[in-house]
Amino acid sequence: MRIIPRLDIKNNFVIKGINLEGLRKVGDPNELGIKYYHQKADEIIFMDSVASYYGRNNLFEIIKKCTKDIFVPITVGGGLRSISDISQALNSGADKVALNSAAVKNPRFISEASKTFGSSTIILSIETKKNKDNEWEIFTGTGREPSGILLKNWINQIQEYGCGEIFITSIDQEGTQTGFDLNLLDYLDTLNIKVPIIFSGGCGNLEDIKKIKFKLKDDAIAVASVLHYEKLKIGDIKKEISNE
């Protein structure tokens, strides 16, 4: 299982909220990125947390700076709307990109992107929670806007269009540090997922890691709060999963 620190960025700061809301500054993206690299992160994800909401792309300058000192794969997401946005992210030193809102608006964007850059470069980011009909639905605009699309249908569709990984965030658990969304993980088990997933939202301690590590052996988890608030180091998590 890969351990991936997730840095949500707003106005040049790493921020952290709860349920993707109520954002607080926690540090400098460059410093935190390099710190987690030296803690032996398997990869690092940088998400521009307001770009898709307000329509801005301000992450590239940050990425350009820190990729010179980070030698593990870097994913950039948030507000990427076109092939030229993706090019710009890759030309800033990113290895992969995470698409969300633009893909929901126009799913063909996924196939266009994966044909142009190779499917292993294209990650689909999904924010999900149960809707009032008790069905898992996907949301955009950092978890604010219901899309009307059900998770199970979207997962099939994005795999057909050719994404290389699926980055799934449980909106209800995100930032809470009360444990991963085990109901969501069980539900994902019933879907036909043939690409690796990056499971995100809720990691609070090593017990939480223990509960999911066997299910996500070929996959990854994204962690933020426990690292940002220094409750855990990446080494602690790696020790927990070392018998893999």
Partner: protein, 206 residues
């Protein structure tokens, strides 16, 4: 004299990370595309993310095959990374059967096995190296992989390293004279990857 590295730029994938890694190690490096043909260098690196047939086609279309041929003839070090290693083989089967650059005999086929459910194979995996004094001490170290296809060398002597995905072995590196191929990404494998890259350049350039 400082070694000069040339990164083959045929228009696929992130070639910046490789550049940053080489610069970090203190090596002079530049990109090579069909427009700057008179460059002098000691080592040619073929990177690549994307599909086999597309990569081979682009290299042929941009007349870069001659450059690789010439580099090999002149006994320069040639390194293929990830897809850059795969296209050194004779035949690929991504989006149908197609011919590669044919420096290694064998096919590049989709990784498939009962135990393999998820592709691409993405992760840091322990890698074993054989019969090479420069690389032997990297055996057991973890390197970063991302690929759905694997090289199947016909000549066992070409295999420099192997690794496993869910207990199924695959070829992790190949070597033939002055040509090397790494399925993993040394430029994205942290400090151990950088060390391996440095050792390669230091010891394998004639």
């Amino acid at each position: 004299m400082s070694k000069k590295i040339c990164i083959l730029d045929y228009g696929l994938g992130n070639i910046l990370s490789l550049k940053y890694a080489l610069s970090h190690l203190g090596y002079k490096n530049s990109f090579f595309n069909s427009e700057n043909e008179n460059k002098v260098f000691d080592c040619l690196i073929i990177p690549g993310v994307g599909s086999f047939s597309q990569a081979v086609e682009l290299i042929k279309k941009k007349n870069l095959k001659n450059l690789i041929d010439k580099s090999i003839e002149n006994n320069l070090l040639v390194i293929g990374i990830c897809l850059g290693m795969q296209i050194l083989f004779k035949k690929g089967f991504e989006n149908g059967e197609s011919y590669g650059l044919d420096y290694f005999d064998g096919d590049v086929t989709k990784m498939s096995d009962k135990k393999i459910i998820k592709l691409p194979h993405i992760g840091w995996k322990k890698t074993s190296f054989f019969n090479d004094n420069v690389f032997n001490h990297y055996s057991g170290e973890k390197f970063y992989y991302v690929h759905s296809y694997e090289c199947k060398p016909l000549n066992q002597n070409d295999i420099l390293a192997d690794s496993k995905y869910n207990n199924k072995s695959f070829t992790a590196a190949v070597k033939k004279n002055n040509i090397l191929g790494f399925q993993f990404h040394p430029e994205k494998s942290g400090t151990v990857g950088l060390d391996l890259l440095k050792d390669t350049i230091k010891n394998k350039i004639n």
